[in-house]
């Protein structure tokens, strides 16, 4: 998976600076070439947050730092960051320049840490890995270098009904804010307290400090984020339960919540099962009231609605959307494409998970980070009826070529604004339906 690629749908390791931006009042400090922050800002768009984008400090490597090293410049920049910006957590991230010339930044960061500063360093040279993987590097660095300083006040696994949630990757999942809010609401609905750690629903650094107290961890992801759950198991003895896809709509959300319920009680949580089931039932009934109301439209609208879909997204969304659209909307998933550079060792399991959605049809899944190649494949496919493509802004042009309907639901996309919309949960399913048919109906003039 390391050949040339076209139309990347993810970015390089330093893109995980957005995971820092997503922690309230945290600041990424870049020790990198001049354009790195700009590139990441351009990839995600509208992603400045509290102190990202043009606000983030950066050493902006020049020839001088490439030749002589840039640690002095970094020290100066960090020291002045404290004077200029009012932040609760500082995370120093390295770029390719620092990585190749071999700047040893940890001793510099350690000087500030010894001074009591809440500062963390992490190596994220772009060539190291993708931002999907670097997200785990950043989170684990914060755990090791920051959270670990608060272990005494936060005894390991001391709150039986509290969990840490690792799900949406901030910004890489365009719906991360809304999704985290909805996960939290749903999990609270079954009786848990939840650390979501990122975004306005989190309690900022205070919540990070309390990570050790959680009884267990929930990982919602087919592969990314797994090193975080494994790391927490190792350092705090917290077990984790993994759900392989984004739970969208009623079936998947119920399955997700029941998996968590069962796991929680195995781990000694004391959740009221009847109350939890009552919550789930209420949510389901409200959901099906809408689907019931909608069904006539789905069945009878005579001017044409999509009957099949190609999804070009990360593996978690490909799974979640395919299952949802097949069973709860009636749109048949044809060839699907995971463009998140899924490591080989997870691919078989993910393909099996997708196939589990149907015992009647084969749903082919291709793992291909070269999204230009994916587009060429889709160009060559022909299915009867009206088609739908769910993907990034790049795919709008493809959809137009093929005369397919299009829903922009992945980065990068200049064609859609997302603020706090969620695709997760019962309500997320309804929102996906609104978005798809909103786009379809907008084609009628």
């Amino acid at each position: 998976m390391s050949g040339i690629i076209e139309q990347e749908r993810y970015t390089c390791a330093i893109g995980a600076l957005q995971s820092v931006v997503a922690i309230p009042r945290a600041v990424p400090i870049l020790h990198s070439g001049p354009g790195c922050g700009n590139m990441i800002q351009g990839f995600f768009e509208r992603s400045t947050g509290y102190a990202g984008g043009s606000t983030s400090p950066c050493t902006n490597f020049t020839e001088k730092e490439v030749v002589f090293g840039g640690t002095d410049r970094l020290r100066e920049n960090i020291a002045n960051t404290y004077k200029i910006l009012d932040t609760d957590l500082q995370v120093v991230l390295t770029g390719c320049t620092a990585g190749i010339v071999g700047d040893d930044i940890e001793p510099v960061v350690e000087e500030f840490r010894e001074d009591g500063k809440p500062i963390v360093s992490v190596e994220t040279a772009g060539f190291k890995c993708s931002n999907f993987e670097a997200h785990s590097l950043v989170v684990n660095a914060v755990i090791d270098q920051y959270v670990s300083r608060f272990e005494e006040e936060n005894p390991f696994r001391s709150e039986k009904n509290t969990v840490n949630l690792f799900a949406s990757l901030p910004y890489q999942d365009p719906f991360w804010k809304g999704n985290l809010r909805e996960y939290k609401r749903l999990l609270e609905g079954i009786g848990l307290s939840v650390h979501v750690l990122f975004g306005p629903e989190s309690g900022g650094v205070r919540e990070w400090q309390q990570i050790p107290k959680a009884n267990f961890n929930i990982l919602v992801s087919p592969w990314y984020g797994l090193p975080i759950a494994e790391h927490l198991e190792e350092v705090y003895g917290q077990p984790f339960t993994q759900y392989p896809n984004i739970p969208i709509g009623a079936n998947e959300t119920e399955r997700f919540l029941r998996q968590v319920l069962a796991f929680a009680n195995e781990q000694g949580a004391e959740l009221d099962l009847d109350a939890a089931e009552k919550f789930i039932r209420q949510e389901r009934e409200a959901y099906y009231e809408e689907i019931d109301n909608l069904a006539t439209f789905l069945l009878e609208f005579r001017y044409g609605l999509p009957n099949h879909v190609h999804i070009v997204h990360d593996a978690g969304y490909v799974l979640g959307l395919s299952k949802f659209l097949l069973h709860e909307v009636g749109i048949v998933p044809k060839e699907q494409f995971a463009v998140d550079n899924t490591p080989k060792r997870f691919q078989e399991q993910i393909a099996a998970e997708l196939q589990s959605a149907s015992d009647k049809k084969v749903i082919p899944l291709t793992f291909e980070p070269d999204a230009g190649k994916v587009q060429d494949t889709i160009r060559s496919l022909h299915h009867g009826g009206r088609g739908l493509i769910i993907g990034s802004g790049w795919d709008k042009e493809l959809a137009r070529e093929k005369d397919y309907d299009f829903l922009s639901a992945s980065v990068p996309t200049p064609y859609r604004l997302v603020m706090t919309t969620n695709y997760v949960g019962f309500s997320g399913g309804l929102r996906v339906i609104e978005d798809i048919y909103g786009a379809v109906l907008a084609t009628y003039r």
């Binding site: 040339i4 070439g33 790195c36 700009n38």
Partner: protein, 491 residues
């Protein structure tokens, strides 16, 4: 000595070629005077994220209609390029491109092992693959910091691929760390295009004028009609064939001397296309000068005079009416060099007071070594000095401090990310995306009307101010804005 040297693969960076700087505080007049006798750059002991040469180089080739572009680096170094694909599609109607094709943008996706063993082979293989997949009329290869430091011989790889494939495969050297002035990226693309693509003229076409530009609206078509000529917009929306033949134009004009400095000079010095040295048409006097220079060069002085007279008759009363409404209003300008100068000229023309400016860099002279091209010189001469003139490469912390201090009636910006702080401070803020919007006599009217509209409709910014989130410390906002500029106002 000529600043253009097409013999070597890499362009000489602006700091060396032009003596450009990225740190200065003082007045515009002082800077203009210093520019003629050697400027010394200042560095900062605190800095925020800058722009990068590779993006500037990229936009000049991604928008070439029939080319493919490869970023030779880790995948992150091309991650903002999708924005140029959007630009290409959205602005194509402005340039009469009826069926805009998908942009072909690739990354060699360098991995850790490549930084150890080199990425040249991967690039060579990649160029062949890109050719097979897209059949472009040329392939442009952009270098990045990683490729530069590991020392891949990109020039040779491109040369070999060009021989094998039979289409131009052109290396553009635009590593971010090479220059603090990211507009060096434009020069890098132009250098490569002039060196490898533009052919010696077979004929001289009196009806074609090169317009070195971005992707703004087609205002030049109308203007040139009076001279019996058509614009040849380069390089965005051009084709490989049109670029090859840009040497045959009667003249070249630039929408912004910072952008077009290198290509304009290269076309004149290496291919004999005369450049209009008059700075671009911003403000009445400069617009007069620009049309006269154009008329003179095309031997159509009478046409120029007629055009000037009719445009003046039409627009001067409107400009005067705007002056009545805008007189005494204050503004702060933040923009790249030259375009920022252009906006300062417009402010002068509209009778507004410039309270200060943060301009991303400063070129003391352009590649044509002609002072007539300098819009800042023009500004100072025509409309007077600009106080608080800061050369500041998008250092938001300085901008915030300065705006908070000066509280102008309006903030005029040219680049993304800068208006936010005006709005957060409750200052009406205006960014015009179309580079050609405020040119010429009609541009003064258009821009003046937008300024007026922006100042009048301040409800949004006033509300935002009440709820603005501010990561800057109170301490910082109380300091002098240049505290962290070494040799600046404070210790």
């Amino acid at each position: 000595m000529s600043k253009i040297n097409l013999q070597i693969p890499e362009v000489s960076i602006r700091e060396i070629r032009l003596g450009s700087i990225t740190g200065f505080q003082g007045g515009a007049e002082e800077l203009v005077n210093c520019s003629r006798c050697g400027l010394k750059d200042k560095s900062r002991s605190f800095s925020q994220c800058l722009g990068c040469s590779t993006s500037q180089a990229a936009c000049m080739v991604i928008l070439v209609q029939d080319a493919a572009v490869i970023s030779h680096g880790p995948v992150g170094c091309s991650s903002c390029f999708h924005e140029f694909a959007f630009t290409y599609r959205v602005n194509s109607p402005l340039r009469g491109v009826e069926h805009p094709t998908q942009r072909k943008i690739f990354s060699t996706n360098l991995q850790e092992t490549d930084t150890v063993y080199g990425g040249a082979q991967k690039l060579a293989k990649g160029i062949h693959e890109v050719y097979e997949r897209t059949h472009p009329n040329a392939v442009f290869v952009l270098t990045t910091c990683a490729a530069g430091i590991i020392g891949d011989d990109v020039e040779s790889v491109c040369g070999e691929a060009e021989e094998e494939l039979g289409v131009p495969v052109i290396a553009i050297f635009c590593e971010g760390f090479r220059s603090k002035v990211w507009t060096t990226g434009f020069d890098a693309s132009y250098h490569a295009i002039a060196r490898k693509l533009i052919q010696p003229a077979r004929e001289r076409r009196s009806d074609m004028i090169n317009v070195i530009n971005f992707w703004g609206s087609d205002v030049f078509g109308d203007w040139f009609e009076a001279f019996g000529a058509k614009p040849n917009y380069i390089t965005p929306y051009s084709t490989i064939e049109n670029l090859r033949r840009s040497s045959e134009a009667a003249a070249s004009v630039q929408i912004c001397p910072t952008l077009g400095s290198y290509l304009g000079a290269a076309l004149e010095q290496e291919f004999g296309v005369p450049e209009i040295n008059a700075a671009p048409p911003y403000g009445i006097a400069q617009t007069d000068r620009w049309f006269r220079a154009l008329g003179k060069l095309l031997h159509k002085e009478d046409e120029a005079e007629r055009l000037i007279a009719s445009k003046r008759a039409e627009y001067l009363p409107k400009i005067e009416a705007l002056r009545e409404k805008l007189r005494g209003k204050t503004a702060y300008v933040t923009a790249g060099a030259a375009h920022g100068h252009a906006l300062l000229n417009l402010l002068g023309e509209l009778g507004m007071k410039a309270k200060g400016a943060a301009i991303f860099h400063h070129d003391p002279i352009y590649d044509n070594e002609n002072e007539e091209s300098d819009l800042l010189v023009n500004r100072v001469k025509e409309y007077g000095d600009v106080p608080n003139f800061n050369i500041c490469n998008k250092q938001e912390f300085e901008l915030v401090n300065m705006l908070n201090r000066l509280q102008p009636d309006v903030l005029l910006a040219r680049h993304g990310g800068m208006t936010l702080w005006g709005a957060k401070l409750g200052i009406p803020s205006l960014l015009i995306g179309d580079e050609h919007f405020s040119m010429g006599y009609e541009g003064i009217v258009r821009y003046g009307e937008r300024i007026l509209e922006t100042i009048e409709n301040d409800e949004f910014v006033k509300n935002l101010k009440q709820h603005a989130i501010n990561p800057y410390t109170k301490w910082w906002l109380d300091q002098e804005p240049y505290t962290f500029l070494k040799g600046g106002a404070a210790k």
